[in-house]
Symmetry: C2
Subunit: 331 residues, 2 copies
């Protein structure tokens, strides 16, 4: 899955900013990929980018119209079809990360085929993967793991990549989810591959590399999340991580979507992840914790990070408040 | 996936008995499902069942022609098409567990559509599953887990189901792989579902049941097998097992297909499986070990089972040599 950049970020009729989180991710982490934004009447999201029509975006060099909005149910809104068709006619590919597929909209499929443009449903892998070989490969890899889903793994990985690059290291973020794929322009939506090929898909996503190169692989799910732990375990085995970072949201009281499951202790999540990681990389080790303290006051956040760091004997950072430098220092 | 029984077991041009292992499984565990066998010229496998033509099998009541042979690469041999077409014309569905799909053979697809017959590719789930809810459900469940792939989990599960039924208990084997699906006539090929839905597929396969009913769920893979561990973990979480049995082949020196990975100690496999199982069922416990001692002499097998049982403090049986009674005694 390799998208042509730069993008026109299509916000459609997004009811609020939250619905535009895919587009926000691109703007924040790869601003050079976003030539502008396009909004339909009634759109309540605004990324602060240059407002463009399809034609203006094409003239500005946009190669892909990215549906940067998710509506309830993840379906493709009929209200978007005209704009997406215009994008194809203006020479762009169209990409979306919705449950429904662009390729299942007959009008878009026919037009894309006729014009020779691409329709990319990044949530639905089209490649065939091999079963994981688990053979040790060259290059270094870092993997964030979480105490829960949606607790900052993607953000942490992108912050680590940015920090590494700022230090002049060779580093690439390897996306395993839809937002990450739009941010980097490539990747594999690992929770959508066939179960037998989870680790094999990660081996293909982050193949052997220069010995000093770092692949920062986007984490998914959590070993303690009973809905998705299988994805997480295959991801850990396929990643062969040299370095792990544990991600945590300290004010969350239960696992995402499962009110009857408490969030595990950070140490418990670290212990089980390390045991599994050492199967495919006996040298795997944690280099710290990355905590989303957005729901804490500054003083409470500082206290929390200090106490957690003392407990685990490793740096505890918040990528937003403190940056991830102390984690990268340990690599 | 629900197949109509009984079956005509089609052995095709199987080069040896090993190639017919799916058919052997049906004959051994559900002889009442097999009205007979059909072989093409050159077939080197023989199940000792009544030899039948398609027409004879249909007259004897066969509802499904089961392709009980696997050839190299798991493809559908052109040499079989005539016989499979005859089966459809004689009123049977056709089912196979190959990598290639029956439904991708235009001749078979067209004929089945025309006649209103079913083509079942049991390796390729066609249902949509929900994400696992991990909500505690009624009924009891037993799950074999392994130190490796292909070390006796299906055999153990079927032996436990048989023992439970012999004692008058209410028990059902729930198949998660192709051979198991043919044996019981239904199930889900769990390694072929989309990664996000592994645990949800198992929840659907073994739903809430009478409090005293046992579902014996077929295990897959191994938590220590880095190619397939994600499948195993989702299966464990979805199963919510009350009872676990560890399966082991004591003469194997490395993980199946991975010469660079040693087989773990039985205790290590038990420890990690129990930790994960207790996430969705805090009452989960092991009731013993099931060892495939086929490669050991009788005395050595007896010694091994005795020593292992002493080590783990639980019964260690070989389903073939000793039966699984001591495991069921503990339930």
């Amino acid at each position: 899955m390799q998208l042509q950049t730069p993008y026109l970020l299509f916000l459609g009729d997004a009811p609020d900013m939250l619905a535009a989180k895919v587009a926000i991710g691109v703007r924040d982490w790869r601003p050079e990929f976003a030539v502008g934004q396009m909004r339909l009447p009634g759109c309540q999201a605004d990324l602060g980018l240059t407002e463009m029509t399809i034609e203006e975006a094409a003239a500005a060099g946009a190669k892909t119209l990215v549906v940067g909005v998710a509506n309830r149910g993840g379906v493709i809104s009929p209200a978007w079809i005209d704009a997406l068709s215009q994008g194809l006619r203006a020479g762009m590919d169209v990409a979306a990360g919705l449950h429904n597929r662009l390729t299942d909209v007959p009008e878009l499929k026919a037009l894309a085929d006729e014009l020779g443009r691409g329709l990319y449903d990044v949530r639905h892998p089209t490649e065939s993967f091999s079963v994981g070989s688990a053979e040790k490969r060259a290059g270094k890899r870092l993997l964030p793991v979480g105490t829960d889903c949606s607790c900052g793994k993607m953000y942490t990985g992108l912050a680590v990549e940015k920090e590494m690059r700022a230090r002049g290291w060779s580093a690439d973020f390897r996306a395993t989810g839809q937002t990450g794929i739009f941010i980097t322009g490539s990747g594999v939506s690992v929770d959508a591959v066939v179960a037998d090929f989870i680790s094999g898909a990660i081996e293909a996503l982050a193949p052997a590399n220069d010995p000093e190169h770092w692949d920062v692989i986007e984490g998914q799910g959590a070993l303690h999340h009973p809905s998705f732990a299988g994805v997480t375990l295959g991801l850990i085995h396929g990643a062969q991580p040299d370095a792990l970072v544990v991600c945590h949201e300290p004010t969350r009281t239960h696992m995402r979507g499962l009110p009857h499951y408490p969030v595990p202790e950070v140490e418990a999540a670290m212990d089980i992840a390390l045991r599994h990681a050492q199967l495919t990389n006996p040298e795997a080790r944690f280099v710290g914790a990355s905590v989303n303290t957005a729901n804490l006051e500054a003083a409470a956040a500082e206290d929390y990070l200090g106490a957690l760091g003392a407990r685990i004997g490793l740096p505890a950072v918040d990528p937003v408040r403190t940056g991830v430098g102390p984690l990268v220092d340990l690599l």
